[in-house]
């Protein structure tokens, strides 16, 4: 235990996700001992991020305005919605430069054991977006883990409606890996999602 404010800093840092007591201590001492470290700037950004950043009214992505940059971009194809769990998934898919549609951020996955059912996610908002029939395809891009799969199952059942194509992101073998190292679940999934070679 350190005295007073140093310990306070370690405690606060330690409350952040993914930061254990050792890392918290290391960061605290980095802040204390590194002269070039701009604490004023960090403090200002921390305050501003809470004041300025909100969630896009349309898709739920993080945004500094009422709607996010992707929803405001006229070049994006609004007939195509990619459903993701978190805003960080939007960033990951944007990095691929493969997708020209828009997003819908659910705010998590269905996990009854944590008290999260469909009503706790932004599913009603999704249905609203689909109501006028202008969306022709939704791509379900929830995480390839149990909760993500169950959420995809729920959505694919819910979204059965005429004129709407519902697809699920393929899951399969990691690029750059050896087939023999793939576990049976991943390999099985890759078989399920195989496609015709033209």
């Amino acid at each position: 235990m350190y005295e007073g404010i140093v310990q306070d800093l370690i405690d606060e840092l330690g409350r952040l996700p993914g930061i254990g007591p050792k890392s918290a201590q290391r960061i605290a001492f980095h802040i204390l001992q590194t002269e070039s470290f701009d604490t004023t700037r960090l403090a200002r950004i921390l305050t501003e991020v809470r004041e300025k950043v909100r969630f896009c009214r349309i898709c739920g992505n993080v945004s500094e305005e009422e709607t996010c940059a992707i929803c405001r971009d006229p070049r994006r194809d609004t007939s195509l919605i990619c459903i993701v769990e978190e805003a960080k998934d939007v960033v990951a898919i944007e990095r691929t430069r493969e997708f020209r549609g828009v997003y819908h951020v659910l705010g998590g996955a269905i996990s009854p054991i944590d008290g999260i059912g469909p009503d706790q996610l932004r599913i009603a908002q999704l249905l609203q977006r689909l109501a006028d029939g202008s969306v022709t395809e939704v791509i379900i891009a929830t995480d390839p883990n149990l909760e993500g799969e169950a959420t995809a199952t729920y959505l694919s059942r819910l979204l059965q409606q005429p004129g709407l194509r519902v697809t699920r992101l393929a899951s399969g073998l990691p690029v750059g890996g050896d087939l023999e190292y793939a576990d049976e679940v991943t390999l099985g999934r890759a078989f399920e999602g195989r496609r015709l070679v033209d």
């Binding site: 390839p144 190292y181 679940v185």
Partner: protein, 263 residues
């Protein structure tokens, strides 16, 4: 580092740090195990997919100071995909593992492991409607924990049934003479179903109608909640609207035919 090996079912997982998970397992011989699975959230992890909830594994662990560490895990029952691929089954399985976790807080014997393993396998294979599998699991898991309910004779006096007053606090149905005023009253069909679920009589259980199943599941929920003190968070999310699989009788006949034995 000393190690041990056991068969276990994954109850739930929590994220830890950047890429790890804490995995809570119910094992055959070592009770409940809390272990760290390193690197399993990275795509390409060798055993991440085997350490998801509802998966049964043969695993080796290092004994750690506070948490053990998963060294190896081989699948012995990959029930996750079948269960997650059907929403009613997923919600039923979630309620089962939550109940298993709570019922084994102090003592986790082999019977709890075997019951849960069997119930998850049954769900994955869609042997019975998922709501019935869940209710049967809850009644039997509570029985293993020492709270077997009575749906026939009076739970207080032992007076032969049938009795209609159901009082969770008294251990099941009770004779009118000892029933408190305002006790819930159950009809014969609901009591028959509850008895069938407790004993595993699937032919009788599947012959029940939707209304009876609703009433029985309400009783199971009340009885479970009373013994667990806190309500199961998953239970209100359970979806009982799933497609109804063929009755056991038909399937048993089909299996017998497939094996070439006389029905």
């Amino acid at each position: 580092m000393p190690t041990y090996r056991d068969d276990a079912v994954v109850l739930r997982t929590h994220k830890l740090g950047e890429a790890d998970r804490i995995v809570i397992l119910l094992s055959r011989q070592h009770g409940k195990i809390r272990a760290v699975a390193k690197g399993v959230r990275r795509t390409g992890s060798r055993f991440g997919s085997r350490l998801e909830p509802f998966m049964a594994v043969d695993a080796q662990f290092y004994i750690g100071r506070s948490l053990d560490i998963v060294q190896q895990a081989e699948s012995i029952g990959a029930y996750g995909a079948e269960i997650a691929g059907d929403y009613p089954r997923y919600t039923a399985a979630t309620a089962m593992v939550e109940a298993a976790d709570r019922l084994t807080e102090h003592e986790a014997g082999t019977q709890h492991y075997l019951l849960l393993l069997g119930a998850l396998r049954s769900l994955a294979r869609a042997e019975h409607p998922s709501g019935l599998t869940l209710d049967s699991y809850l009644l039997r898991a509570l029985s293993i924990a020492g709270w077997s309910p009575s749906f026939g004779d009076c739970a207080v006096t032992g007076a032969p049934g049938p009795h209609s007053a159901f009082v969770p606090q008294l251990g099941g149905v009770v004779a009118d003479a000892v029933a408190p005023p305002g006790a819930v009253r159950l009809d014969a069909a609901a009591l028959d179903l509850l008895g069938a679920l407790l004993s595993g009589d699937w032919v009788a259980a599947e012959a029940s109608d939707a209304g009876t199943r609703d009433r029985a599941s309400g009783v199971v929920a009340a009885y479970t909640q009373f013994h667990l003190e806190r309500a199961l968070r998953s239970l209100p999310h359970v979806d009982r609207s799933g497609p109804v699989p063929p009755p056991s009788l038909v399937r048993a006949a089909e299996e017998a035919l497939a094996e070439g034995s006389p029905v």
